[in-house]
């Protein structure tokens, strides 16, 4: 049986994590092709419904990557994102999907290596958790589709 390849949606702030992804590419870093990057104007623009939607549409895992505390371009967007992620984790636990499938990471623009590490760590975490129970038929197919690389 082929190894499960999770589908992970990474909502990345353009001022940090998204820029770090560019840097990871410039540095020729290899990272998990399982993540699908969505550029956000700020991690603080993430909304509860968008995260749940990602899971409903087939994501096995979701993470939001924002600036370090104190570094937000809009001052407090990352703090708000952290609170929203905590709230949605609670909902995911309540409905049985599991809050572990969702996470927030701090990824500064200058840390391409951290971007790659976060992508790899989250992929490994979701691989351990297994396919989302909502995707019984589609046990992940990142390799087939060709995941995003730097």
């Amino acid at each position: 049986m082929p190894e499960f390849e999770p589908k992970i949606v990474a909502f990345c702030c353009r001022y940090c994590a998204y820029t770090a992804a560019d840097l990871a590419g410039s540095m020729r870093l290899q990272y998990s092709p399982n993540i699908r990057v969505v550029e956000m104007p700020c991690s603080g623009t993430i909304e509860h419904g968008v995260i749940l939607n990602a899971f409903e549409k087939g994501a096995d895992g979701v993470y939001i990557a924002g600036c370090n505390l104190g570094d937000c371009h809009f001052l407090k967007g990352n703090v708000r994102a952290i609170k929203r992620v905590a709230a949605v984790k609670k909902v995911l636990d309540e409905i049985g999907l599991g809050g572990d499938r969702l996470e927030f990471f701090h990824v500064p623009a200058s840390e391409g290596t951290k971007f790659a590490k976060v992508a790899n760590d989250m992929t490994e975490r979701i691989r351990q958790l297994g396919p989302s129970p909502l995707n019984k038929s589609a046990a992940g197919n990142a390799k087939k589709e060709g995941g995003q690389t730097a």
Binding site: L52, G96, P133, L134
Partner: protein
């Protein structure tokens, strides 16, 4: 505004457990402002409920609609065509909205998604406080704009009581003594003499003690 909070998601799920198609109805009035039952919250609840039911092998078709207000017949009339084939309606409005939907759609199972808490306002984003007791006869002109009916734990009219300690209420140290606030404000306004007027017993028949209330403005009623 009316302040409400969502019930635990599992409680709502229990109410509609045997329904296959459910309409979640949000309200763009008070509950949107207090972030309990607006368009966004309605979508989130429908999404969460769909996921939960899929995981339980009991798939749910959840559709959503957000009314301008659920407490006016003309705004829920637009649901007439939407409700036809649903097994239940979940209202994310205050208790008024739930009842309006139940009255209009007599053959539908209508359930509340919110607990209606109080009439109040926000102090900071995400925090709401009770401010009005709906007593039916406002006395704020006598109390410096601070309501003793709802902000005093005993609703007393000639306070403070002996439970007032260092400006706080004996019920909870986080509750300000309303009568201390009233005294301080009247003093600052130079109107302490007004507090010397003894207030007669309040006519509670104008509040809930008189049964369900009704307000009528004949001058704005439209003749059929």
């Amino acid at each position: 505004m009316i302040v409400a909070q969502q019930k635990p998601i599992n409680d709502i799920a229990q109410m509609i457990n045997d329904c296959k198609k459910v309409l979640f109805v949000g309200c763009a009035g008070c509950v949107t402002v207090c972030l309990a039952g607006g368009e966004k919250e309605t979508e989130v609840m429908a999404s969460a409920m769909r996921i939960k039911r899929t995981l339980e092998n009991n798939p749910l078709e959840a559709i959503t609609y957000t009314c301008t207000r659920q407490c006016d017949p003309e705004y829920i009339a637009s649901l007439d065509n939407v409700v036809k084939d649903v097994d239940a309606i979940v209202s994310l409005a205050c208790g008024v909205g739930v009842q309006y939907l139940a009255e209009r759609f007599k053959d539908k199972w209508v359930v509340p998604a919110l607990d209606t808490k109080f009439i109040g306002g926000s102090t900071v984003h995400g925090v709401w406080e009770e401010k009005c007791g709906l007593c039916g006869e406002c006395i704020l002109h006598r109390t410096g704009g601070i309501c003793p009916i709802i902000r005093c734990s005993k609703s007393i009219l000639n306070g403070p009581c002996g439970g007032s300690q260092y400006g706080k209420c004996e019920v909870n140290k986080d509750i300000d003594c309303a009568w201390q606030l009233i005294y301080d404000r009247m003093k600052a306004l130079g109107k302490l003499d007004k507090l010397m007027e003894i207030q007669p017993p309040k006519d509670w028949s104008k509040s809930r003690d008189g049964g369900p209330r009704k307000a009528i403005r004949e001058d704005v009623m439209i003749d059929e």
